[in-house]
Assembly symmetry: C2
Homo-oligomer: 415 residues x 2
């Protein structure tokens, strides 16, 4: 079963908001046996909303809409749907109740803008919003289902989970999609494709393979479609088992794994601990590690040593190393890694020191120069990189590279 998602809002077309809603919706829908046929983003314009609706209803039976349900004057979705379905707009007392019982305990008076949100098209079934003031709207007209939800992510998610997904699940004929991701690192897409060409050609016809490259890694996605979820999962598992020996060294995880979660699994398995000393990455490595639930099993902590004083005081970097080699140097980054290992008493530690930019570069050490070190007991490995002149990307790429180096060291010592 296929449906369309229409996202509404000028901010989407101006590029001021990145649409994360439709990705979350698609994942949930997939797990419930629904596929997204097309996603359309349109502006806050009655004509464009109606155009997208008409086109969608030509190709699918269900349309999910997000956005444009707020209390302010730029929100057009509700009146547009009323017009489209030729429905009058009426005050709904249950919705009004919901709104006032949401605002009253928070000491917010019910104003005219909020009251307006209790007016809904007569032809729709309102969907309760437990997390905000705008109700959802469920239309079942002319053999088609059109559902409108707010664009605020947690409000939309609440409605999807409570009402929309259960109702859609009932309608669906239970055909399901099963995905499996195989996550590889350290091999280019075209080389990977060559290596697994024979395996790919022999895939059973129910399976589809996709390559999803991102800097430094390639995700392989196997997708199976059919009626029997268990059978599809078994089919996929068989193929993954055949794939494993071909690219064993490049696989670092599966499905929702991240580099940080894969490292976490390795550290936990071998009862190892980790600390971090970050200069140019500014806390981002710590953040990637602490995003993973349960990381306190292996992560002791980190220091963001932005100033040199912290490098000497907490990480015991030698003043002469800073003076002679400079903060961005093999010497200092190695001393930072040793210092973190000592201060935190960990098995492994990772350190970064670099020039994230846009200023601070020199001829010898241009913006983007980053030293990374990984210390384990009395061993240390350090390497110099240049990640270019974009500050944001430098932080991300240096952090990913540090995790990659860490992973390699753990594997070469313990696997």
């Amino acid at each position: 079963m296929k449906l369309n998602i229409i996202t509404i809002g000028d901010e989407l077309l101006y590029g001021q908001t990145i649409d994360t809603n439709s990705a979350w919706m698609a994942q949930q829908l997939n797990a419930n046996g629904w596929e997204v046929y097309e996603k359309i983003a349109v502006g806050d314009s009655k004509k464009n909303i109606i155009d997208a609706l008409i086109r969608s209803m030509d190709s699918v039976d269900v349309v999910l809409i997000t956005g444009g349900l707020g209390p302010t004057s730029d929100d057009l979705t509700m009146p547009t749907l009323a017009e489209f379905f030729n429905s009058s707009i009426v005050l709904n007392n249950e919705v009004l109740n919901d709104i006032s019982s949401m605002l009253t305990p928070r000491g917010i008076p019910l104003n005219e803008n909020n009251r307006k949100q209790a007016y809904v098209p007569e032809k729709c079934m309102p969907i309760r919003n437990k997390l905000g003031t705008a109700p959802g709207l469920w239309f079942n007209e002319k053999g088609k289902i059109v559902v409108s939800m707010p664009g605020v992510p947690h409000e939309m998610r609440g409605m999807m989970n409570d009402v929309v997904l259960p109702k859609l699940f009932e309608i669906n004929n239970h055909e399901v999609l099963v995905h499996k991701f195989i996550l590889t690192i350290g091999i280019a897409e075209a080389i990977l494709a060559e290596k697994i060409e024979r395996w790919e050609k022999n895939l059973p016809p129910k399976l589809r393979l996709a390559y999803l490259p991102s800097p430094g890694m390639v995700k392989l996605r196997l997708t199976a479609k059919g009626n029997n979820k268990e059978e599809l999962e078994k089919l996929i598992t068989q193929q993954v088992e055949l794939l494993k020996p071909i690219i064993y060294n490049y696989i670092f995880g599966y499905d929702d794994d991240t580099l940080a979660s894969a490292i976490g699994k390795l550290l936990r398995k071998h009862h190892l601990t980790l600390s971090v000393a970050e200069s140019c990455t500014g806390g981002y490595i710590s953040h990637l590690i602490t995003e993973i639930a349960g990381c306190s099993d292996y992560f002791e902590g980190g220091v963001v040593s932005y100033s040199n004083i912290i490098k000497t005081n907490i990480l015991e970097v030698k003043t002469e190393s800073l003076n002679e080699a400079g903060a961005v140097s093999k010497k200092v980054v190695e001393e930072m890694a040793w210092g973190a290992n000592k201060a935190f008493g960990t098995d492994f530690s990772v350190a970064t020191s670099g020039i994230a930019g846009p200023t601070g570069g020199s001829k010898d050490k241009p913006v983007g120069t980053v030293w990374i070190a990984v210390a384990y007991k009395n061993k240390i490995k350090s390497e110099k990189f240049n990640f270019g002149n974009n500050r944001e990307r430098n932080i991300i790429r240096a952090s990913n590279m540090a995790l990659m180096m860490l992973r390699n060291e753990i594997i070469s010592e313990f696997e």
Copy 2:
């Protein structure tokens, strides 16, 4: 001038990739006087790509496409466009040259998959890809322009900057869009709308206002459209000046400001320094601060004290405080803030201690409980929050709240 963006890839419809490309493209296009009429995401299917193309060419004259140009078997965009424009596919020697001069220095052999990428539709002008192997394709057929670019973000950006934007800029009749964001904090959308209702009603007809709410903040966007950029900017500035006195206390910044960059400006202005001691936020506050270029002017550094040993050793939190009140307590978070102020020798410091989840909660301190403290000289302010049971959101909301509290303290001391 309006155009459509079509993004291609099953991963977009499965919700496995969040589309950031089209947002970036839209921003650049806006700045060059182009508006996005509609964004359409379709799967890796010939039929669906052609459907989206036909519909787009009904409403606009220019269509930009990203995705599906890779070297592997799931990439369909090039043959689909060749079919659509009724063009044969030929080997392009310049493209082949580009590909081999990209791979050779990196020691990667030119394999069959890469060679395939040098075959392009005869009817198109290939666009050089300086950052990858897939060329872009520029079609100018039947009075319409269709441009296909890779989905890899930095490759697409390179082509946009080098070729597509300059060429589109020539075509455009120079009508421009000017945006101005006014960023507010601590006021709900509906209340804000009420406060500025009169101002909004008196806006000149060339201006449009939009409310863009996100947790804890509401962005106001003023948009002006016309031929004279300077005049539009002046018009917007006038209206912002009229708005300021109405909601002065709630405005924390404009345009690309973030809470962290607004705090950075305040700290720099008053020659103040900052340090951070993070437990549950795990480095994310440091990351938000160090994302801002030039933060080394005021940011000394931070400690991610995930384990209690680090809290006592580096931040000098008292063992009895940890034993009596527990790590997640007013007492410990205040000692962490004092400790950071002392260790880093800063004017201000911010500390967080909480239970991010999903485990670690208790009846007294459920998952989501977070203590936040802001220390300044001999003063301290601390507050307890509960942000719910989603780990990711806890980290983000606790970090934003910590920055909000910090901002309030700086303002009440210095502004």
